[in-house]
Structure formats: structure tokens, C-alpha cells
């Protein structure tokens, strides 16, 4: 059916998986065939409930969802997915799209909203975009997770120094603010670079500025007197 075998090969860990949810068998098979032609793995679901209970939320890929289905409508499924924190992008398909339906879908976080019968190029482009978007999201999440882990290794003093570095203060200014000698500040900065695995100041600021801000917001009273 789909080109690569669904065996747990090393390839399957990286090849994106497209979940296709549509109650009409003919449409489902045809769309699966079409998506399969560009080398994407497709998993078909006839019932929205079965899909919600059984699909792999950790896999990289996207979800193609029909709006009009018996039992649960596609829009309801979309709401449920978002409530459950599923991060796969969702491409909505509908036989007859109204403006209202379209607005609801995008408000609920749909990546794309297409009318059936859909042209191969439009569908495949939407799926590709969704997959790319998901890969990026996953990477960003992973990077964020790593950064958070490294940040957790810092001592309280090092965190103070980092917050001032990110705020754009020089070594001297940092020393004055924390009542430290510039040399000590220098040492802290070297430790920071080593622990945070960054090589340049710009890299440090880009990766950790957000974390420092979050930390500052979480603390009830700022350290500056």
C-alpha cells in the first residue's frame, strides 16, 4: 500500500507518519495512495474514536482529518487533539466548506483547510508543509529541553551573572552590581560557557535569554536593590 514497509526499521524512526482519518473507504484509500506516492508513510483510520484512542502521539508527521464524519465531527476531533496537547499539525478536509467552518478550524489550530475533491498538488504541499512544521517544532522543543537541562546545572551565583550578561552589562558593571572583582566575573563567564555549551556571547543570549526572563518572572522579588 505505502512504499516503505511499516516494520520498525531505523528508517521508520525518522520517516514522517501521516494519519489519515476519513469514514469513506474509497476516499481514504485514494488519498492514502496519493500521499504514499511521495514516500510518506500513511496510517488509515476509519473511525475518529479509534484514531483518538490508538494513534502514536510521539511520531513525527501530520494528521489529515475529514470534517464530516458520523459520531465525532472533524472539528470536535481537532478540539480534542488540541486539548490533549497533541502537537502534530492537522490538515482539515471537507466536502462543503463554509466560511464559518473554516474560521472555526483555524481558530482551533488547523494548519490547513482544504475542500474535497482536493488537487494532488494542494494536498501534498499542505502535508509537506505540515510535516516540515512539525519537524521544526520537535527540534525546537528538543533544543529548548536541552537548554533547560543545562540551565538547571548552574549555581545561583552563575544564574545571577548570566541574567546580567543577557541584560547586556559588561564584566565591570557586573562586578559592581554583584560586589565581585572583574576577574571573578570572568571566571563565572568561562564556567557559563562551558556548562551551557556555547561558544559565543551571541549564541548564549539567543538560547538562554528566554529562560532567564522566565526565571525572573517566576521569582517574586527581583535581586536588584
Amino acid at each position: 500500500m505505502t512504499l516503505p514497509a511499516a516494520a520498525p526499521s531505523p528508517l521508520s524512526a525518522v520517516s514522517p507518519l501521516i494519519h489519515l482519518v476519513d469514514d469513506d473507504e474509497a476516499v481514504r484509500q485514494a488519498l492514502a495512495l496519493l500521499i504514499g506516492t511521495v514516500g510518506l508513510r500513511v496510517q488509515e483510520w476509519a473511525h475518529p474514536q479509534a484514531f483518538l484512542e490508538g494513534f502514536d502521539r510521539h511520531a513525527v508527521g501530520a494528521i489529515v482529518l475529514d470534517v464530516r464524519m458520523p459520531g465525532l465531527s472533524g472539528l470536535t476531533v481537532l478540539d480534542l487533539l488540541r486539548q490533549q496537547g497533541v502537537d502534530q499539525p492537522v490538515v482539515m478536509l471537507t466536502g462543503h466548506g463554509t466560511v464559518d467552518m473554516c474560521r472555526r478550524a483555524f481558530k482551533a489550530g488547523a494548519a490547513e483547510f482544504l475542500e474535497k475533491p482536493v488537487d494532488d498538488e494542494a494536498l501534498l504541499e499542505a502535508v509537506h508543509n505540515a510535516v516540515r512544521e512539525h519537524v521544526r517544532t520537535r527540534q525546537r522543543d528538543a533544543a529548548g529541553r536541552d537548554a533547560r537541562e543545562r540551565y538547571g546545572l548552574l549555581s545561583p551565583r552563575e544564574r545571577e551573572v548570566l541574567s546580567l550578561v543577557v541584560a547586556g552589562l559588561t564584566n565591570k558593571e557586573i562586578g559592581r552590581a554583584l560586589v565581585l572583582s572583574p576577574r571573578t566575573v570572568e571566571t563565572h563567564r568561562a564556567h557559563l560557557c562551558a556548562k551551557l555549551q556555547v561558544h559565543t556571547l551571541a549564541q548564549m543570549i539567543r538560547t538562554y535569554a528566554q529562560l532567564v526572563d522566565e526565571e525572573a518572572a517566576a521569582r517574586p522579588a527581583p535581586p536588584q536593590a
Partner: protein, 541 residues
């Protein structure tokens, strides 16, 4: 009418009758009671006018008759005076026997003629007394004097004194005026008497009640002394005008005319009612047709769109696979199958035609009227609306012997009444059709309204006691083109669902019946939101 006249008797049957009457009166709508009272009032008013008019006419006739009778009597009495005077002046010596033989032939009222002079005294002292009175009257102008009145035989005498002879006439009061000239019929209702001193001469007895002319309407009376001093009779006429004399024929005609008019008006009202009902039904049918057309187009578009989507996607997948194969073949063999361009063209054609068909469908869908287009939400009392729908379908329901009712009370809704009408109309018709084939002994459709303030919802249950839905069809009743009736289009319930959703509500179907299976009917549950009607809803609840 119950006999309220004998009510003081307080018999058990009377009390029961009165109770029944009161219950009947209470069951009647207040407007009908008012109408009944107005009709009774009008009938009585008309009857009174007729009776008064009739009395006026008869009074006039009575007065004319009385004047004629009085004049005739006076004239005849005066003529007798003249006869007497002639006898006294012209034929003092005439033979009384001869005169007596000839006069009654001319004057039927004259029974006898008597003469008296010095040689022949009066046989009766009353006549002598009267002669003396006559002689004593007014010097030379002698006048006749009344004498010897016999009230039983109704005879009297008139005496005129003269020289040398005095004459007297014995008169029959009954025959004073010839019968053909007398205006009052012998057996008529009028009582006629001649009264002089304390004596009464009965000319006509009249109707028994004429003796005491009283009652509901006062009678007519006439009393006048004859214009002849010699015979000072007072003519008294009396006539009763009680209920027995009322113009019952005319009253009957009036009542019948009135009743006929009311009946005609009622029939007219009924006809106009039916006409209005028909117009309303036609309007509903038009809306329903448009809505059904929309539902048909939407249903068809959806049903055909799915296969078209599959065709297009499959064709395009085939095109892509073909391209992969072709490039692979070119790479490996240096040449591709010469038929491949034709296959590609065929696939392209198929894809284009699938797209074309799909365009037609979307045009059709745009053309079909959206049921929510032009909807005007307003405050709707759904209880009244349900009542109107049952009224509209009244003749149909009656024809099938179906008993339909609305119960429950809910706050006013804020919704488009036309859409609500369509839903209720369709649901009732659906229930009617469900009952049609069933052999239910007493087919019933009940519309039950329920209010759930916590959920800000109103429920309308349309329940029938038919066979219920078959288990396998229960899940499919809202599917377009699904119908269990032969010849049914299968769009009624889907349309109701579409309309319910457009109103922000929902529609469900289920079977009702005892727990443990065995349906005793179907029930459709229309759920409607109570949004936007807050102020009125509070006032209503």
C-alpha cells in the same frame, strides 16, 4: 335551557342539571359565552321591537274601530230620536197599531211603537214617568227620555212627550246598527258594552282576558258617551294584549331569520378560517419545498462529492506512479513504453472530468437556498407555535383519527419562527406517517415542552404511540435519502436536523417504551438554546 324557574324546588335532578350547565359554561371559551349572551340579547331586543310595533298597529286599529262604532251608535240613536219627533209632530192622530206594523220594517232595531194620549194611558208606569220627565225638559224643545232598560234582553224604550199624543219606541240595542255596518266581529277579541246608570248591556263578550286587560302589556280601552242626550249610553270597548295576543308568527320568523344569519356568518367564518389555513399551509409548503430542494442539493452534493474525491485522488496517484515508473524506465532502459503517453493523457482527462463534475456540484450547492438565509430571529412562544401547527394540520389529524396535544410551558425563545414552524410541522407530519401504517388502537401525538434552566435549554418532545423506529434504522434516520416509507424522499428528518443546527440546537431520535425492549412509540427530541432571550425569559419564568 334548564328549568331555572323550578330551581327553588332544589330537587336533585335540578341541582345536577344546573351543575352540568355551569360546567358546560366553564368549558366554553370566554369569548363564546360573550357571543352567546350577545346573541340572546339581540334576539330579545328584536322580539321586543316586534311586539311593540304590533301593539302600536293594533292600538291604531282598535281606536279606529272604536270611533266608528261610537259614531254609528250615535247616528242610529239620533235617527230614533228623529222618528219619535216625526211621530209626535206629524202623526199625532195616527193609529199606533198601523205605525207599529210599518216602522220595524224600516228600522229593524224598533221592536214596538206605543202611543199614549188622554184616552190611552201608558201601560207601564216607567213610560209615564219618562213622559213626565220629557215634558218637564227645556220648555218647548221637548226631548226624548230613556226608560225601562232591560240589560238581560238588551231592550230599552225611548219616550217623547207630545200633544195631543206622546210616543214611545221599544228598541233592541243589539240591532241598533245593522250587522253589516258594525265594525267589531261578533266573536272578536274586543269586549263591547253599553253602560247607563248602573246597567250594563253586553254587545260583545270578547276574549275572556279582555274583561281584565292587564298583564305583561296593558290592554286597550275606549269609553265615550253616545252623542244622543236621549240615550246617554256610554260605549265601553276593551281589548287585552297579553302574551296570548302577541304576534308569535312574526316572532318565530324573526328568531329563525336571526338564527339563519348567525349560522351563515358562522359558516362564512369557517370558510374563511379554512381558506386562511390553506393559505398558511401553502406558504409552509413553499418554504418546505425550497428547504427540501436545498437539502436535496446539499445531500446530493455530499454523496457525489465523496466518490468524485476518490476518483480524482486515485487518478492523480496513478499519474504520479506512472511518472515514477517512466523516469525509472528511462534511466534503466533508455526508452519508455510507447503507450505510456496515451495512458497519461487518459488519466489527465479523467482527472479534469472529475474536477468538472465537482464544479457543477458546488454551483448547484450555491444555487440551492440556504435555510438560514433571510432568517429573522424574534421572541417566539413555542407553545403557541406548536398549537398553530396542530391547528393547521387539524383536518389531516382528524381524518386519521389522531389525537394530538401540546403540554408543558417554557419561556419565550429567541429564534426564527419560520424555521421553528418547519421543524415542528415536519416532525408532526413524520409522526402522522409513522402512525399511518400502524394498527394502534388510539393513535396519539403528544408535543411535550420541557425547560432546563440550568442548561439554558428548552426541549420539545414529539412523541407518537406508533411502532417506533426499527433498531437498524434508528442510527440512520438523519441520513439524507434514507427513508423507510416507499416513495419517501428521506429528506424530512435531515432537513429538521439542519434547521435545528442552524438554530443552535440539535435533534435526536429515540424509541420510547417500557424498560427491557418493546417500543411503544418513537420520540424526536428537539433541543433549543435559550440564548438572547434573557429579559423575556426571566419575565416568563
Amino acid at each position: 335551557m334548564p328549568s331555572t324557574g323550578s330551581w327553588p324546588a332544589t330537587t336533585a335532578s335540578n341541582a345536577a342539571a344546573l351543575l352540568k350547565w355551569r360546567q358546560w359554561l366553564q368549558r366554553m371559551p370566554r369569548r363564546s359565552v360573550a357571543k352567546l349572551a350577545a346573541a340572546v340579547f339581540l334576539v330579545l331586543l328584536g322580539a321586543t321591537a316586534i311586539v311593540r310595533w304590533d301593539i302600536a298597529v293594533r292600538r291604531e286599529a282598535f281606536a279606529v274601530d272604536a270611533r266608528i262604532a261610537h259614531r254609528l251608535l250615535s247616528q242610529r240613536a239620533a235617527q230614533l230620536d228623529a222618528v219619535l219627533a216625526t211621530l209626535v209632530l206629524v202623526a199625532p192622530a195616527a193609529d199606533a197599531q198601523e205605525v207599529a206594523a210599518r216602522l220595524p220594517a224600516l228600522w229593524p232595531a224598533v221592536l214596538a211603537v206605543q202611543r199614549s194620549d188622554a184616552q190611552h194611558p201608558w201601560p207601564d208606569t216607567a213610560l209615564a214617568t219618562a213622559e213626565a220627565q220629557s215634558r218637564a225638559l227645556a220648555g218647548g224643545q221637548r226631548q226624548a227620555v230613556l226608560a225601562a232598560v232591560d240589560p238581560v234582553r238588551m231592550h230599552y224604550s225611548v219616550v217623547l212627550a207630545g200633544n195631543p199624543a206622546s210616543w214611545a219606541l221599544r228598541v233592541d240595542a243589539k240591532r241598533l246598527v245593522p250587522a253589516e255596518e258594525w265594525p267589531l266581529p261578533d266573536n272578536g277579541p274586543v269586549r263591547a258594552v253599553l253602560v247607563v246608570d248602573a246597567l250594563t248591556l253586553l254587545l260583545h263578550p270578547g276574549a275572556p282576558e279582555a274583561q281584565q286587560p292587564a298583564g305583561l302589556t296593558p290592554g286597550f280601552t275606549f269609553a265615550k258617551v253616545l252623542a244622543t242626550p236621549s240615550q246617554p249610553f256610554e260605549l265601553r270597548l276593551q281589548r287585552a294584549t297579553g302574551p296570548a295576543q302577541w304576534p308569535w308568527g312574526w316572532l318565530l320568523v324573526w328568531a329563525a331569520t336571526f338564527a339563519a344569519t348567525i349560522a351563515a356568518l358562522w359558516a362564512l367564518q369557517r370558510a374563511r378560517d379554512a381558506q386562511r389555513r390553506n393559505a398558511e399551509l401553502v406558504r409552509m409548503a413553499q418554504t418546505a419545498r425550497l428547504n427540501t430542494l436545498g437539502e436535496l442539493a446539499a445531500g446530493m452534493a455530499h454523496e457525489l462529492n465523496q466518490p468524485l474525491a476518490a476518483v480524482l485522488a486515485s487518478t492523480q496517484a496513478a499519474q504520479r506512479l506512472l511518472q515514477h515508473n517512466e523516469s525509472a524506465a528511462l534511466r534503466e532502459l533508455g526508452e519508455a513504453d510507447p503507450d505510456l503517453p496515451a495512458v497519461r493523457q487518459a488519466l489527465g482527462l479523467a482527472a479534469a472530468q472529475a474536477r468538472r463534475a465537482s464544479d457543477v456540484l458546488s454551483r448547484l450547492r450555491r444555487l440551492a437556498q440556504d435555510p438560514t438565509r433571510g432568517s429573522v430571529p424574534q421572541h417566539v412562544d413555542i407553545h403557541v407555535l406548536c398549537g398553530q401547527m396542530l391547528y393547521l394540520l387539524g383536518p389531516e389529524l382528524q381524518r386519521r383519527g389522531i389525537n394530538a396535544s401540546v403540554s408543558g410551558s417554557v419561556p419565550t425563545l429567541w429564534a426564527d419562527p419560520v424555521m421553528l414552524e418547519q421543524i415542528v410541522h415536519n416532525l408532526v407530519i413524520n409522526a402522522m406517517q409513522a402512525l399511518e401504517g400502524a394498527a394502534t388502537p388510539s393513535p396519539t401525538i403528544s408535543l411535550v415542552l420541557q425547560h432546563f434552566p440550568d442548561q439554558a435549554q428548552v426541549l420539545l418532545l414529539v412523541r407518537d404511540n406508533g411502532p417506533g423506529f426499527a433498531p437498524e434504522s434508528l442510527g440512520r434516520v438523519f441520513e439524507p435519502f434514507f427513508s423507510t416509507r416507499t416513495g419517501g424522499l428521506g429528506l424530512g428528518l435531515p432537513l429538521c436536523e439542519t434547521l435545528a443546527q442552524a438554530l443552535g440546537g440539535s435533534l435526536q431520535a429515540r424509541n420510547v417504551g417500557p424498560a427491557g425492549g418493546g417500543a411503544t412509540g418513537a420520540e424526536l427530541v428537539l433541543t433549543l438554546p435559550l440564548v438572547g432571550a434573557a429579559p423575556v425569559a426571566h419575565a416568563a419564568s
